[in-house]
């Protein structure tokens, strides 16, 4: 369970959201929608500690991360949090110098100390689950957008996170690739993984979310409206 209390974030002199509370329940899928520039991606990035909130507290299980922590402590806790929360980016951000399987096994082997053979076995299972097991030796440059995103999902799952954050996972994809990726996400949802998905697609929001939160930052006061 991820809990957000009293979140405020200002960006370039503009308040994106203020006094925002939300609870992302275990095993549920939450979709965050909103117009461009509304702060929905920023919210997701804060959840994965790629950015800091200006006010408020983030809690995941027993790990609490308030705003205004000293930098070293913030980094320590952020590192601990990232080991429990996976992230999938709009632009995939696969590692171009590694092949597909190495992309998936890098974090388990290098950051989590998993035995390489076990990590490889698990990596192949994950690639199979996203329909990419035939591409283990290919470099990311040779993958289509949909293939890249499915590898990125397998990569994020390889560290066995408690929750998966997806930032516009299909917005760069053509309809067919979008369908492939959406099916993979539906599979994760069916298995009971906690999901937080940012998208501006209303149809996708209805299809993938147990709950939809719309971020509507308008004007100076900009607040996060809950539906």
């Amino acid at each position: 369970m991820i809990e957000v209390r009293g979140f405020m974030k200002a960006y370039a002199g503009r308040t994106l959201f203020a006094g925002f509370d939300s609870t992302f329940e275990r095993g549920k899928s939450t979709v965050i929608t909103g117009k461009s520039g509304s702060g929905k991606s920023t919210l997701l990035r804060i959840l994965n500690r790629l950015e800091r909130q200006d006010e408020g507290t983030l809690r995941i299980g027993d790990l609490e991360i308030p705003a205004n922590l000293p930098h070293a402590e913030w980094r320590r806790r952020a590192h601990a949090l990232r080991r429990r929360v996976g992230m999938v980016f709009q632009g995939y951000h696969l590692f171009p110098h590694l092949d597909v399987l190495q992309n998936v096994t890098l974090a388990p082997v290098r950051a989590f100390g998993v035995d390489p053979r076990i990590a490889e076995q698990r990596g192949l299972e994950l690639l199979s689950a996203v329909g990419m097991d035939g591409a283990r030796d290919r470099r990311p440059a040779r993958l289509s957008g949909g293939e890249s995103q499915r590898v990125a999902i397998a990569r994020a799952l390889a560290t066995e996170p408690e929750a998966l954050l997806l930032d516009e996972p299909t917005s760069a994809l053509d309809p067919r690739s979008t369908e492939d990726v959406v099916r993979v996400i539906e599979g994760l949802r069916a298995k009971g993984l906690t999901l937080v998905i940012v998208t501006h697609h209303q149809e996708l929001a209805r299809r993938l979310g147990d709950r939809v939160v719309e971020v509507g930052a308008v004007g100076d006061s900009g607040s996060l409206h809950r539906l």
Binding site: L50, H93, A107, A111, D137, A141
Partner: protein, 499 residues
């Protein structure tokens, strides 16, 4: 002795007889009209020939400066000095950069192929110089030891002829003496006048054994300017007779009994000499041994370049990381390092490293090692900028993705950023490596005979600039072309799928 008889013939007698219509005592009219004779010499060669006055370095002094002045007086024209590297004096003459070369030149068969020589103006012998505390008494005691000499000098030839010692070649006398004083070389073999002049500057050195051999300094003129040679012959004879030469010898502590020969030459009579046309005796092909020498020098170039580049890569990477991620004072130190090494000539850095720091015993090192370290430190500055640029070019998404996966900062750097940055830097880095192969020739200033220097020495000695130059270029290409090919292969393998 053949040399001597040719000289005697050639130098004789200039005073009385002359070719029809030409007054051998007078300068050719083209010089009289110009009222100037350009004389080439190398002030780097040091005392006593031509050198900067220690009391007033803007003034050039030396025994040949005085000789040129005396000849100028005698001939009624101005003698204007042209600075030319000693190894290339006769070539500069041949090309017309100057009219005569007066700089302790011996009329060797090689030089006489390119230039014509006047009667000798000085008789000199060879002198071995060692450290005061050395047990060496003669050249025979130097077996297996390093002995310094000037490149392409009589001393150099003598060391090569004797074998058994390891000749270390210099372009400047003072350095060859310095290297004996600091213990890098066992001894230095040089012309007696050099020994006399330099021993005054190096009190911890002494002459070992008696001077030996007998050779001559003469003035070189172009092959087709026999009239100029005759005029200069006559002038030298007049200066001998009126005592000017002896005054000059005495002023520079160069006078000895051997100089009587100069006078004997000017007493004799006979035909006008044909020194410039003297038979060339060493015609046998030396291409085989030249190739061997160039190959050995190329191996040295490869060793120095590879060693230096290994340092440049390792240190450059450390500098780039320190500049990118280090605390502010460290970043400033790196910036200072990069600017200092990039902003000053590598030549100056090498001289400083080898001769400057070499004054302290703890910092002394062999010349090749100083070359490797000096070039390595210099290129590290360039490499660090290449790597820094490549690291900054890695998109932020890559580090964010790595962070999101739970990699620490160090793990992100090692497994995500650096592998990509090194791939990005490969073309620029290869470029630098190829440049280093060529730039490594600069280590010749600290007496390392690598490919460039070996070429210079062989070409100057034989005058075969073109064939040896093509051969040398081919050797450089044989190093750089495979290197570029390997780099392209590495790039492709880093880019490609394994499948």
């Amino acid at each position: 002795m053949r040399q001597l008889s040719a000289l005697l013939l050639g130098a004789t007698l200039v005073t009385a007889q002359s070719a029809p219509g030409v007054d051998a005592n007078r300068l050719p009219s083209r010089y009289v009209e110009r009222a100037t004779v350009r004389w080439a010499s190398d002030a780097e060669g040091g005392a006593p020939f031509v050198f900067a006055d220690p009391a007033d370095p803007s003034r050039e002094v030396g025994f040949e400066v005085d000789l040129a002045a005396a000849m100028a007086d005698d001939l009624g024209v101005r003698f204007e000095r042209v600075q030319t590297p000693w190894e290339n004096l006769v070539q500069a003459l041949d090309r017309g950069d100057c009219d005569v070369a007066i700089n302790g030149l011996e009329p060797t068969p090689e030089r006489r192929r390119i230039a014509r020589f006047t009667r000798p103006y000085y008789v000199f012998m060879q002198q071995l110089v060692v450290r005061e505390d050395s047990a060496i008494r003669a050249l025979d005691d130097c077996s297996g030891l390093r002995v310094g000499c000037l490149g392409q000098s009589v001393s150099h030839t003598e060391l090569l002829r004797r074998g058994g010692v390891e000749p270390v070649v210099y372009t400047e006398s003072a350095r060859s003496f310095l290297e004996v004083e600091n213990g890098r070389n066992a001894a230095v073999l040089c012309d007696l006048p050099i020994a006399v002049a330099q021993l005054k500057l190096f009190p911890r050195l002494r002459a070992a054994g008696e001077p030996f051999g007998r050779d001559y300094y003469a003035i070189a003129v172009r092959l087709d300017e026999r009239d100029l040679q005759l005029a200069l012959d006559a002038s030298v004879a007049r200066l001998w007779h009126n005592g000017s030469l002896e005054r000059i010898y005495r002023k520079w502590s160069m006078h000895n009994e051997a100089q009587g020969e100069i006078g004997a030459l000017s007493q004799s009579g006979g035909e006008h000499g044909q020194v410039g046309d003297a038979p060339i005796t060493d015609k046998e092909s030396r291409t085989g041994s030249e190739l061997g020498l160039l190959l050995a020098a190329a191996a040295k170039t490869i060793g120095i370049s590879c060693g230096a580049f290994a340092i440049a890569v390792a240190l450059g990477l450390a500098l780039a990381l320190a500049r990118q991620f280090g605390p502010r004072p460290v970043r400033w130190l790196v910036i200072c390092y990069v600017e200092a090494f990039r902003g000053t000539p590598v030549l100056v850095q090498l001289l400083f490293l080898y001769y400057g720091l070499g004054q302290w015993e703890a910092l002394q090192m062999p010349a090749w090692l100083a070359g490797v370290i000096g070039l390595g430190l210099n290129y590290a500055a360039y490499e660090s900028e290449v790597y820094r640029g490549a690291i900054s070019a890695i998109p932020r998404g890559q580090t964010e993705a790595a962070s999101a996966l739970g990699l620490s900062g160090a793990e992100t750097l090692r497994f995500v950023v650096l592998p990509q940055a090194l791939r990005l830097s490969l073309p620029a880095s290869t470029n630098d490596f190829v440049a280093l192969f060529k730039d490594s020739a600069v280590v010749m200033v600290i007496s390392v005979v690598e490919l460039g220097k070996q070429y210079q020495m062989l070409a100057s000695a034989t005058g075969r600039f073109v064939p040896l130059g093509l051969l040398t270029c081919a050797l450089y290409l044989a190093m750089s072309v495979p290197l570029a090919w390997l780099a392209r292969r590495l790039e492709r393998s880093l880019d490609g799928d394994k499948a």
